[in-house]
């Protein structure tokens, strides 16, 4: 008799859900890391711009080219981007929290269900 045939279908279904939630948690984690990196990048660029003289020449990287740009406009653009990343990060954090909570609840349910199964088997 295989191990999976001893587990009730409902529990098997919950196990599959748990695996899906784990994949989701990992995906959200990866997205969060990407957004955090972009946020840090924008923040360090803004910090560096603040240190530069008023007359410093600034370029925006466009593909392989660099195009001369106005420092104030670049600062505005970076600040807007920073805000967008901040918002995206908060959304991802909330999403991560929700999925984590669901995962823990399901894990608890499964623990109880598996406990009941092993008791039945023991009896």
């Amino acid at each position: 008799m295989s191990g999976s045939s001893e587990i009730p279908p409902q529990v098997q279904n919950q196990l599959a859900q748990l695996q899906q939630l784990k994949v989701q948690i990992e995906a959200v984690g990866r997205q969060k890391m990407q957004v955090e990196a972009m946020l840090r990048d924008s923040e360090s660029a803004l910090e560096e711009l603040e240190k530069l003289d008023e007359n410093s020449v600034i370029y925006k990287n466009v593909g392989e080219l660099m195009i001369k740009a106005d420092k104030e406009l670049v600062k505005e653009d970076l600040s807007e981007r920073k805000e967008t990343y901040d918002l995206r990060l908060k959304t991802l954090e909330r999403q991560e929290e929700r999925v984590q909570k669901k995962y823990q609840q399901l894990q608890q349910q499964l623990r109880e269900a598996l406990g009941a199964v092993s008791q039945t088997m023991g009896a």
Partner: protein
């Protein structure tokens, strides 16, 4: 007699569960170690690039406008170019933005970034070592279980 069998069966089940959990943890450590090793390669490459850029600026400072250079264009090929300026370096400062700096502040900026990368490299190497130690511990435990199991089976014969 029946009680002894039950205890034995329970012990076997517990050991099986432990082995499964250890194997799972070992796989997780191995996957994490692989990711960290890949990241470490990128960080090392970035450190090398920063060192190259700093060295190039140092050499440029010894040159003057009008001097001839050979500039690589990829695939081990180069073109001749004339240096028009030696006191302006364009450095990428992040967020898709680059800024013109004088050679000294460019080197200062690059040195600072290099230090940050070296710190990350140290941290990542530490994490990798810890993961390897943990994986080693798990492997030792698995070997202990395997040898206890085989000696137990031998005694039973």
């Amino acid at each position: 007699m029946e009680e002894r069998e039950l205890t034995e069966r329970r012990r076997e089940q517990e050991q099986q569960a432990e082995v499964q959990s250890l194997i799972l943890r070992l796989r997780q450590y191995q996957a994490q170690a692989e990711t960290t090793s890949q990241e470490l390669i990128f960080v090392r490459q970035a450190i090398g690039e920063h060192e190259k850029a700093i060295e190039t600026i140092k050499q440029l400072k010894r040159m003057k406008a009008g001097d001839e250079l050979i500039v690589p264009i990829g695939a081990n090929s180069s073109v001749y170019a004339t240096l028009s300026n030696t006191d302006k370096i364009i450095v990428r400062i992040g967020g898709g933005v680059s800024a013109e700096k004088d050679p000294d502040s460019s080197m200062e900026y690059l040195e600072e970034k290099k230090k940050e990368l070296e710190n990350s490299q140290r941290e990542m190497t530490g994490v990798l070592q810890r993961m390897e130690q943990e994986a080693q511990k798990i492997q030792t435990r698995l070997q202990e279980i395997a040898s206890a199991g085989s000696s137990g089976a031998g005694a039973g014969r």
